[in-house]
Symmetry: C2
Subunit: 221 residues, 2 copies
Amino acid sequence: MKTLYGVGVGPGDPDLLTLKAIKVIRSADYVFVPRPKPDKQGMAEAIAAEYLQGKRVITLHFPMGPDNVDLYKRTAETLDRTLKDGESGAFITIGDPMTYSTFTYVMFEAQNLDMQCVLVPGISTCNATAAALQMPVTIKGESFYLADGSVDEEVLRRVQSVCVLKPRKQSAETLEKLEKYGFEYRYIKRCSFPDQEIWCDRRAIEEDRDYMSALFSRKRG
Amino acid sequence: MKTLYGVGVGPGDPDLLTLKAIKVIRSADYVFVPRPKPDKQGMAEAIAAEYLQGKRVITLHFPMGPDNVDLYKRTAETLDRTLKDGESGAFITIGDPMTYSTFTYVMFEAQNLDMQCVLVPGISTCNATAAALQMPVTIKGESFYLADGSVDEEVLRRVQSVCVLKPRKQSAETLEKLEKYGFEYRYIKRCSFPDQEIWCDRRAIEEDRDYMSALFSRKRG
């Protein structure tokens, strides 16, 4: 049996790694590191850099863009070819491996190849954002909606808080809906990184196209 | 200025603490520890036990039950009286401090007393549950709904995945709604603890009243 760990390394601050993530990276036979460009350090790689020293690191080319089933299949085949029976590999991924992560697709393909998958949850950008803004994700009796890109108006009517990851192209439309339903919002760029920024200005948010961004909002009480 | 840290210690497994949580606990002048019964170790306290050795620990009585504004106000006053100007206290809390946590209310009261609050996000039960079940919280283009107790049918119609924390008394009604909208569900008890259990049987789930439980579900593809 070959074991593939999906390891969430958190939103950006290396101190937001869990002890479990570090232990799994340290004990794995290989560490698999996704890179949007082959010769440029990836984000998960930068966050976990300290723990990659002395490890057998395999970089994997993951270009930005639409989902690519072939790529996930080929990636799983690479992982399967790399590991010998009884060996383990830690695939590191930013945030949480089950929340808007391409690792999810790789996991499904690896399971098709009979690899044993084990997940190590990570601090998601959504929780890090709520912490940075001191705005509750949820309090007792309330509910929360997490979306990427666009939001559903009917859901906005019925929940008290919302986080939209990568609002980019649809942000003008999203902000209009949030205002319509009485939400107060903040826009956060590069949450938990040293250059984190928090914006409130609607026009500025609408014009921004940063990939590492989130819109967090709560209904006015 | 007095600083109050709200420190999420994760869902149960001590290895799911972040480095940041450990650093803040270790460097704080005091650690504040909530207990449902005065003479019984609290859950956050058990999870972080290793890092409390040699610390000045102040236990706070937090009985289970409905929210209690007076209690949160009195707690904030206790924190304020304990800390001298320039000192810091780490209030530890299970999961994430902004997700269904009584710490949220304590934070608001502490802010009213001009204490500086800083939050350290923790792995939420929701992310740990998704990892244990290998069921995505969200993949690209999908959305997620987090609730406690009861769920809104109209939201279920419009999202792909749902986590209900503490489904207890309303679980029969919730399971009926989930089945109606084509969700596949799993019930998890004491996620990430050594005695974690995963159940699928509707009748058994309906009859269980465990406080440390979550219902996680995704629409069939």
